[in-house]
Symmetry: C2
Subunit: 155 residues, 2 copies
DNA sequence: TATTGTTATACTCTATAACTATA
DNA sequence: TATAGTTATAGAGTATAACAATA
């Protein structure tokens, strides 16, 4: 009945319990940005993972699946259906490597390169939109701080 | 055969393609922190979602399921099995609300309160560990910047 | 009619074991 | 023996429709 009151309780609860944790804000910000990115990529009919895969293939022609899996930190089995989709859509091609007939070299088609360019533009527009409230120096600070948090991002 | 070279390619790929996006660093840092948190909570036999639910119930005794779902932004159906688990473990109790017999009031047991306290301690230890490379003022800056990114975090 | 909690279900993402063909 | 790609599968996490009881 009193919907407004219920909603207020919800927000108050969230605030009171979780806002003291830095990890909470990190997760909320990340989720917000990722959601917006996913929405942006729908315009070019790509998911986040298919965009990453396509982009890496475009910038590293001839890459093999295992290298791609390593680079994007995804399991080899999970890469298969992603590449099947991109191949079905004529965006990338799997071609046998003559010197190692177990492996496939991954190359983008012209359409794949064109779509990757469109996707890249969409991602840049998304970043500008989603970080609009941060100045250039604030974005730089945020990146520095984030790179101090996770290992492997030599800061 | 040349494993080292392959691994280097993987890292080089990741760097070259993605490190220019702030969203990438945000996601990586968030994933790293969430993974460590999940690991920390295993010590108290809680998942992230069960910890959040238990903590909210402890700090808001008598809360109803729909309010809890609103507060934690999870769907009502997905809350059911979580509460089943917490109830089976004698950590929380569902009791009928006399004034609205459709609803349940959620209250923690003594064991639930004790475990929430342990969990809270584990989370604090986790935060100290995972943000160790950041000074107090850097943590504060990071929080301010993150709160500027997502909406609803009035900053 | 609308809401609370529930059931059933489905879809995505992720992770592992085991297979094939090659090396 | 080990590796590249594949298949099958299983587990989380998340989302929606529809139901019974109650308002």
């Amino acid at each position: 009945m009193n919907r407004t009151a219920d909603q207020d309780i919800g927000e108050a609860v969230d605030d009171a319990v979780l806002r003291r944790f830095l990890g909470h804000h990190l997760r909320r910000a990340s989720n917000f940005v990722q959601s917006d990115l996913a929405r942006s990529l729908k315009d070019v009919d790509l998911r986040m993972i298919t965009m990453s895969v396509l982009t890496v293939i475009v910038e590293h022609r001839g890459l093999r699946q295992s290298q791609l899996a390593d680079a994007l930190q995804i399991e080899r089995p999970n890469l298969v259906s992603i590449l099947d989709e991109l191949e079905d859509r004529k965006l990338v091609e799997r071609t046998r490597v003559p010197t190692d007939r177990r492996a496939y070299a991954l190359t983008p088609t012209a359409a794949g390169e064109a779509l990757a360019a469109k996707a890249s533009q969409a991602v840049r527009a998304h970043e500008d939109r989603v970080f609009a409230r941060l100045s250039a120096s604030e974005r730089s600070s945020l990146q520095d701080l984030l790179m101090k948090v996770y290992p492997g991002a030599e800061g």
